[in-house]
């Protein structure tokens, strides 16, 4: 079964995410962060930040809403029963702080087939309220096409 490559280059409307103090603390706890700037807003302020600092991998949280229209796009036709997360890259800019407003845009940058599997490469570009790119994510989703 050949994959449909027509959606290469497709982009989706931006999504918005308001970074909350308690969400950052919850995420930081779940991934075992021990640096108090992620867990305690007083410690973060003492270190010179306006509020708790999101760990770099918090990018997963603020960019996730942007992924859903792509994952469920009938133009891609991704088969969830055979979906595997193959690889992941993030490139980070300025730190994200509770109180930031993040806008993320999704693009489908590549679709290909190798060894009977479909490779769907999603790229997310996340910017803060000042227009600075805080994170670019490259998400490679693999679907066994049979």
């Amino acid at each position: 079964m050949a994959v449909n490559t027509d959606a290469i280059g497709k982009t989706y409307p931006p999504t918005h995410y308001a970074v909350g103090r308690e969400k950052v603390k919850e995420y930081a706890s779940a991934v075992g962060e021990r640096n108090p700037i992620h867990l305690d807003h007083e410690a973060a302020r003492a270190a010179g930040f306006a509020d708790v600092v999101a760990p770099p991998m918090f990018a997963v949280v603020y960019s996730q809403p942007s992924m859903l229209p792509g994952l469920f796009d009938p133009d891609l036709g991704i088969d969830f029963a055979h979906l595997v997360h193959g690889s992941q890259e993030f490139r980070w800019g300025p730190l994200v702080i509770a109180g930031d407003e993040i806008t993320t845009t999704l693009a489908i940058t590549d679709i290909s087939e190798r060894g009977g599997m479909g490779f769907y490469v999603f790229e997310t570009d996340s910017r803060n309220q000042n227009g600075e790119t805080v994170c670019v994510g490259i998400w490679t989703n693999i679907v066994r096409t049979g």
Binding site: K23, N35, V53, M57, H85, S87, F90
Partner: protein
């Protein structure tokens, strides 16, 4: 920091970790939180979220190399599957250092099997 420096982080996810991480991250794929569902789709049981394991790789770098602002880039490949109640070992090796940046290679293993391989990071100095 010089080429050849190494660091390691070990962490043992408890049996409810994937439930907490699902809530914290918003990834509620049932293969991570529903034992019966996971078995129905041919897995041995609930498995770790790959992005949780990647977060351990990221944390190994930020704890060893100077804080979250130092991590400029991290890429990984996911392989196999991670499970709860078994120790995860993240190991990293500094490969190159110049005046502004370092390049670090890393992996994560569980029971000697790599669950993340070809980790590569760029660190701001």
């Amino acid at each position: 920091m010089v080429a050849g420096d190494t660091f390691e982080l070990t962490v043992t996810p408890d049996r409810y970790l994937t439930v907490r991480y699902a809530g914290a991250s918003g990834d509620f794929n049932p293969i991570h939180i529903d034992e019966e569902f996971a078995k129905q789709v041919g897995l041995p049981g609930r498995i770790l979220h790959g992005l949780w394991t990647m977060a351990q790789v990221a944390r190994a770098h930020t704890e060893a190399l100077g804080g979250p602002d130092k991590l400029e880039r991290l890429s990984v490949q996911f392989r196999g599957m991670g499970v709860m109640e078994e120790e995860v070992v993240v190991s990293g090796t500094v490969r190159e250092v110049d005046s502004e940046r370092a390049v670090v290679q890393s992996q994560a293993t569980q029971n000697g099997k790599r669950i993340i391989r070809n980790g590569e990071a760029t660190i701001r100095l």
